[in-house]
């Protein structure tokens, strides 16, 4: 059990709701993941469609914590307004804050992100900022009042995995008291396990599950990887050494050692 944003969670996996082949596969994948938090978004929809009602009913019936995002926002004003709309629509203080600074790699705008974070925290939001793996930026977000910070492993949807483990490790070491969740770029379960082994508190995953040939089984694979990585971290991983050290005892080594011919 761990705590994030005032909620007690069993799973260390957050999972997105986009890109699945069908709503039914989405539902089964979410269940297979064991995730306690799902991400959602807001978009324009024509009133003569069902206006998102079916999706919202589907998601609400899962009974999980909802984390709306501000995906697609490129300015502080857009992100703040979208967050306010999400709070009313989804009835939650939680917001996954995205302020995009580059349309090619969807890299967050660090200046706008900090500004929007401060504004939303002043409005009593629980802000989960999507950020780059920059130590100082993550520190500023924590200082602004975020109890959870979500650095990327690599660009959203790229599946590139942990491109800069050094940065991620440094962030973990320098911010030991806040929740750190890897958001974006994870491609395979071993990426997730590695993040958890480094002491990251959780991962947010979407494309790597939804775009798998079998999303339901992949969701389960990620759940096992996250659990494995966390157990490894808590068990204390042995330090690396620059030399060999036999694991088999050397006492009583048989016949060929130390015997002059």
């Amino acid at each position: 059990m761990w705590h994030v944003g005032g909620a007690a969670l069993d799973s260390r996996m957050f999972i997105g709701t986009a890109l699945y082949p069908s709503p039914e596969i989405m539902r089964r994948s979410i269940e297979a993941s064991g995730a306690g938090v799902i991400t959602v978004s807001l978009r324009r929809q024509a009133p003569d469609s069902d206006g998102g009602r079916a999706f919202w009913d589907y998601v609400r019936d899962l009974g999980l914590h909802i984390l709306p995002n501000t995906a697609g926002c490129h300015s502080v004003k857009e992100a703040v307004t979208t967050a306010q709309m999400a709070r009313e629509l989804f009835d939650t203080r939680w917001i996954k804050l995205e302020v995009i600074g580059d349309t090619y790699n969807l890299q967050p705008d660090p200046i706008g992100l900090v500004e929007a974070t401060r504004e939303l925290i002043s409005q009593d939001f629980e802000v989960f900022p999507y950020t780059t793996d920059d130590l100082v930026l993550c520190t500023r977000l924590a200082e602004a009042g975020c109890s959870t910070v979500m650095p990327w492993a690599s660009p959203i949807g790229s599946g590139q995995g942990l491109l800069n483990p050094f940065n991620l490790d440094m962030i973990r070491k320098r911010l030991p008291d806040i929740n750190l969740i890897i958001d974006a770029g994870i491609g395979r379960p071993s990426d997730a396990a590695r993040a958890l082994e480094m002491g990251y508190d959780g991962i947010l995953i979407n494309s790597a599950v939804a775009l798998a040939q079998d999303p339901v089984v992949m969701a389960r694979a990620f759940a096992l990887a996250v659990e494995s990585g966390r157990m490894a971290y808590e068990s204390g991983i042995m330090p690396k050494r620059d030399f060999a050290n036999p694991s088999t005892p050397t006492v009583g080594t048989p016949f060929w050692h130390g015997e002059p011919s």
């Binding site: 807001l42 999706f55 709309m85």
Partner: protein, 67 residues
């Protein structure tokens, strides 16, 4: 007749009215949406008091899949 922009598309309304009536006329009913006007969020409890005069830009957003 007045005109406003709804989710990026020009839409006519018969006359100035409160936001609640405008949303009804535009087909937005129920609780599965949130509204911003000219980039500012308008809480649901203000729908009866907020006046639409024409020329406004409405954003009406609904739940959607997201990552």
């Amino acid at each position: 007749m007045i005109e406003l922009t709804v989710n990026g598309t020009p839409k006519p309304l018969p006359a100035p009215c409160v936001l609640r009536k405008a949303l009804d006329e535009l087909g937005f009913q129920g609780r599965h949406f949130a509204v911003a006007i000219n980039g500012r969020f308008v809480p649901r409890h203000q729908y009866e008091a907020f006046h639409i005069e024409g020329g406004e830009a409405l954003e009406v957003l609904s739940p959607m899949q997201g990552g």
